[in-house]
């Protein structure tokens, strides 16, 4: 969670663009990763991420912080944008492109070609998971949201979220090994 987040949200609700800008800076890369791993296409991910923050800024007055983290609110907007996007067009996943992106970052950290092979398999396995399982895995282990935040974002209880997470990991492992 961003430091002084509640104050920033209150100022953004008053229409202060600068405050929303700070929220954007903090959450934008997370939302982008979430969307990109789900749609598998960089330009589509950029469009959807942009629309997510546009909607958030447009409707920030309606956001109520009581028991509903701001991160969960943003992720739920992003989720709906991705669902709408999949309804409009068939999912087109470019694993190679996404794998290259990750490889580029990883190579600078000292990983080699083996890493790319691993990422291709991993990403393909993620794409084969159910939408909600993807959501939980990305939010929990990529963007490091708490169980509570994930539960609020997907509209389930924390218990149900833990069950989905357990099932998602099991299915992912099975897909990778197969």
């Amino acid at each position: 969670m961003l430091e002084d987040e509640q104050n920033l949200i209150a100022r953004a609700k008053e229409g202060e663009a600068e405050a929303f800008g700070l929220l954007y800076d903090f959450y934008m890369p997370r939302i982008y990763r979430f969307v990109l791993v789900k749609v598998g296409h960089r330009e589509e991910a950029e469009d959807l991420t942009h629309q997510t923050f546009l909607k958030a800024w447009e409707h920030i007055e309606t956001y109520e912080s009581r028991g509903y983290p701001f991160s969960s609110w943003l992720y739920s907007i992003a989720r709906n944008s991705v669902i709408d996007h999949h309804r409009r067009s068939k999912p087109q996943v470019s694993i190679d492109e996404l794998g290259d992106d990750i490889l580029l970052e990883k190579e600078t950290q000292g990983s080699g070609l083996d890493a790319k092979i691993g990422w291709d398999v991993m990403l393909e396995a993620i794409f084969r998971l159910k939408g909600i399982e993807q959501d939980v895995l990305i939010m929990r282990f990529v963007d490091e949201l708490t169980h509570q935040e994930v539960a609020k974002a997907i509209g389930k209880t924390e218990g149900a979220t833990k069950v989905i997470q357990h099932r998602a990991l099991k299915n992912l492992k099975k897909l990778i090994e197969s």
């Binding site: 800008g21 942009h50 990750i102 970052e105 282990f141 990991l169 492992k173």
Partner: protein
């Protein structure tokens, strides 16, 4: 692969970062719109076309400012360099201008003189013609008296 290894591998996806240019343009488009007002659907193309139109406005403004600056610089140079042009004798120029002015004055005086004299001559002519007409009239009247 254990579950922990799987989780660690998933964490590696954090290396994905958005394109910096996209972030900059998207951020400025969002923040330039007003909160609470419905915004048109924006796509990647419109985001970048807005960026381009912004760039075009900046370029046009820069060109305008450049033209203004060049104009003012040219004006300053003109005032700076004109009085110090080499090969021009200022005193000769002044005396020549005085001579031209004097010549013009003389011609104006001539015109005034001719105008005045021509008016006087015209008056004299008209008065003589009047006198001649009067004498004829008297002669005619005398002839009439004689006839009676």
């Amino acid at each position: 692969m254990t579950q922990n290894e799987l989780i660690k591998k998933l964490g590696g996806l954090r290396a994905i970062e958005p394109n910096e240019e996209f972030v900059r343009v998207s951020r400025s488009v969002i923040l330039s719109s007003q909160s609470g007002i419905p915004i048109e659907r924006t796509t990647r193309n419109t985001i970048f076309s807005r960026g381009l139109s912004f760039a075009a406005s900046v370029t046009l403004t820069a060109v305008f400012v450049l033209v203004l600056a060049l104009g003012s610089v040219a004006g300053s140079l003109k005032t700076l360099f004109l009085p110090t042009l080499h090969g021009v004798n200022n005193e000769a120029l002044v005396s020549e201008a005085d001579a031209v002015t004097g010549d013009i004055d003389i011609r104006l005086n001539d015109i005034e003189y001719f105008d005045r004299t021509s008016r006087t001559v015209a008056l004299a002519d008209s008065s003589q013609e009047g006198m001649l007409d009067g004498e004829d009239e008297i002669d005619e009247l005398l002839n009439q008296v004689i006839e009676y």
